[in-house]
């Protein structure tokens, strides 16, 4: 059985409205980042891969199993939705145990896995707390634990760090990297830093289409020669924001350092080409694909 997800010419409709267009992707073992704006179609793609949305046409196979075999796909897939909760009056370990039972895990094995996963996600000391008493970060970690309860080959996590504080976000990313050692982990997010810190492979989506698919390094290389910094006087900032895609503004004493994306060398004093960061590379990718980008414009 091959250890990858293969998507070929896949389209998805909501009624008459097309949500995904000719998606072609191959996702190998390890962390895979799916980056895109809100409404780009990431969640629709995630749900389709988790067999809770139906594609219109095209092919998807998960570790060699066609997506149409929903039961088998669900048995090998762990899914953490973007917007989820659990029965608020259940205790943490009880909620995990319940979802394990729905995954068909025998009682004795379930007990072991609940114990081990609660330790892994640092919730062991909160295991007797009711779900409604957990913080947002704790709930997300519980979410990961439930997605891993049946030891899936594929883990799909949709916008897992949205709304978490920086410390929780780092902790969560590290946890994902840990579990990605022997499985496919698909991380869908609109937060570039999450991809930068954890993924080797990345795809960029917009308006239901895949704009980019490759390694993070390739994405950075693609933007090389199009990212600049310039020191400008503060009063010119509104004008610069109108003309360029500004990805960073750092106020200094006498002037302001702006970081921007440009096809050609910008007509700004002191503008110098600089090494691309992932945020800039992402913006350049959107821009070069013809997407309307409003970086910095108010």
């Amino acid at each position: 059985m091959d250890n990858k997800i293969v998507i070929r010419k896949m389209n998805k409709f909501y009624g008459s409205k097309q949500a995904l267009f000719d998606i072609d992707l191959t996702i190998e073992q390890g962390m895979f980042g799916l980056l895109g704006r809100n409404g780009a179609g990431k969640t629709t793609l995630m749900k389709t891969l988790a067999a809770i949305h139906k594609k219109k046409n095209g092919k998807i196979s998960v570790c060699g199993i066609p997506i149409e075999k929903e039961s088998e796909i669900r048995a090998m897939t762990g899914y953490l939705p973007q917007d989820f909760s659990m029965y608020p009056n259940m205790k943490t370990d009880e909620a995990l145990d319940y979802l394990g039972a729905l995954s068909g895990i025998p009682k004795a094995e379930r007990k072991k896995r609940v114990d081990s996963l609660l330790r892994k996600v640092n919730l062991n000391e909160h295991r007797h707390k009711k779900v409604k008493e957990l913080s947002g970060g704790m709930k997300r970690r519980l979410g990961i634990a439930q997605a891993l309860i049946h030891d899936p080959k594929v883990l799909i996590v949709d916008e897992p760090t949205a709304g978490l504080d920086p410390e929780e976000r780092i902790r969560f990313r590290n946890l994902l990297c840990e579990v990605a050692e022997n499985r496919i982990v698909i991380l869908s997010t609109h937060i570039v830093a999450d991809i930068e810190a954890s993924c080797e492979q990345v795809a960029i989506m917009d308006s239901g289409k895949i704009l980019w698919n490759g390694t993070v390094q390739q994405l950075l290389d693609n933007a090389r020669g199009h990212i600049y910094t310039a020191n400008v006087e503060k009063q010119f900032l509104p004008q610069i924001k109108k003309e360029y895609i500004v990805t960073g503004i750092l106020p200094q004493n006498e002037f302001t350092t702006v970081r921007l994306v440009s096809d050609a060398e910008p007509d700004l004093p002191n503008a110098v080409m600089t090494e691309p960061d992932l945020e800039g590379a992402y913006m350049y990718c959107l821009h070069s694909s013809g997407c309307e980008v409003k970086g910095g414009e108010e």
């Binding site: 929903e70 039961s71 669900r74 899914y79 939705p81 917007d83 608020p88 729905l102 068909g104």
Partner: protein
């Protein structure tokens, strides 16, 4: 075990506890207080032993024709469509139709009918802000050439003209016009039947089922609908959808948990009723098992089918629609049998009514229909749960998202 986990979830829900409270309140205020004191053997020196309904053609025809003439003369017919009071006034065409039928019944022509009406005693009745004449007839008789069968056909036609639910509905003729006083011997036989034929517990269990059956025709739907909608309300849907368990197994496990958990409070009231029976009728020979077997066979199918309706309609529409659908069904079922509280068990009525400790023979006459009815509802319930599992599976695979009636994208809103 998943089943026990689901039972625990049901037992923790607020709607389940409201269900328990309603059930307990209804039990103690109706059944428990009704049978607090034991029924005593009729005495030979009582003046009134109650009445009984008999199908006596002469009584029925006499009563019905006099009542019909009175209502025809005042053009005001009392009807109870679906149990609601309604005074029906006919337009000329329909009135002429009724008159023709009366002419056939009485063997009288138009002038003869007019004469009868002129000679009738008239009382003026004040109703709300109006006053209407009430004609009283006592001496009308049905023409001897009209057979009882033809009489019933005519009554059926008149009931149709009146829109149903009138005093002349064929099924209600005996109940409305043919009541006779019971004799001491008959009253004694009724009592003996209750005591000896299946001992007092048979009668008590039927009364228990009558009262509890009314509650169970509606309130389980609240628990079932709320439970079925809980995943969505708790934003658990996708976590559950993405599990390995099959839709059929999950739906049936949840269904079994709902039915089992909701039956437990009924079982508790059964135990209380059994204890009460053994105290009130201490010294009598009682078949205590009847306090459990009869209610289980009588009430369990009702919980099963109401729960199944709740689950299915919630999957297709929403919990609110499920409650509304079951509410309408329960109401129609209750009202359609409102005239006769015993001996009116039909093959397809949701509620089986027998609101008396007596008339065992009337119950036994419909026993086959009763057994058919309960088995039918058990099977129907299982079919509905299969349908609910099918819908759940469609929703789970993203092939169906349910039908919204109201709110954004609702089909009723769109039409408006």
């Amino acid at each position: 075990m998943l089943f026990l986990k689901e039972c625990k979830k049901v037992a923790r829900s607020l709607t389940f506890w409201i269900y328990c409270i309603i059930l307990a309140l209804m039990f103690f205020t109706n059944y428990y207080s009704d049978v607090r004191y034991g029924e005593s053997r009729p005495s030979a020196y009582e003046q009134d032993y109650g009445t009984k309904v008999v199908e006596d053609p002469d009584l029925i025809m006499d009563g019905a024709i006099n009542s019909l003439m009175g209502e025809f003369a005042s053009n005001r017919y009392i009807c109870y469509p679906f149990g609601f009071y309604k005074a029906v006034s006919l337009k000329d065409n329909d009135r002429n139709e009724v008159e023709k039928l009366i002419q056939e019944l009485t063997g009288t022509d138009h002038e003869g009918i007019s004469e009868f009406m002129d000679e009738a005693q008239v009382n003026y009745v004040e109703h709300a802000l109006s006053t209407y004449p009430e004609y009283v007839f006592n001496t009308m008789i049905v023409d001897k050439n009209v057979s009882y069968e033809r009489f019933k056909e005519i009554m059926g036609e008149i009931d149709d003209i009146l829109g149903g639910g009138s005093l002349y509905a064929v099924d209600s003729l005996a109940f409305n016009f043919s009541r006779v006083p019971m004799t001491y011997e008959e009253a004694l036989k009724e009592y003996e039947d209750s005591i000896t034929a299946d001992t007092m517990t048979g009668a008590l269990s039927r009364l228990f089922c009558d009262y509890t059956g009314i509650d169970l025709a509606l309130i389980p739907v609240f628990v079932a609908a709320a439970f079925t909608a809980a995943d969505r309300r708790r934003r658990m849907t996708e976590l559950v959808y993405s599990r390995k368990i099959s839709s059929l197994r999950l739906t049936f496990t949840r269904y079994a948990a709902l039915v089992t958990t909701m039956f437990i409070p009924v079982l508790i009231t059964m135990i209380i009723a059994a204890v009460q029976a053994s105290v009130v009728y201490s010294g009598e020979e009682l078949k205590m098992h009847l306090m459990f077997t009869t209610p289980t066979f009588w009430l369990l199918p009702e919980i099963m089918v109401v729960t199944a309706v709740g689950m299915l309609v919630t999957e297709i529409f929403s919990a609110g629609v499920a409650v509304a659908v079951q509410g309408v069904w329960a109401f129609i079922s209750l009202m359609s049998g409102s005239n006769e509280l015993y001996g009116d068990i039909t093959k397809f009525g949701l509620m089986c009514r027998h609101n008396t400790l007596y008339h065992r023979s009337a119950f036994m006459e419909t026993y086959n229909d009763f057994v058919f009815n309960r088995i039918f509802y058990m099977i129907l319930a299982l079919v509905l749960v299969c349908a609910a599992a099918f819908i759940y599976n469609l929703k789970r695979g993203g092939r169906f998202n349910g039908i919204r009636l109201f709110g954004k994208g609702g089909i009723l809103r769109r039409k408006a």
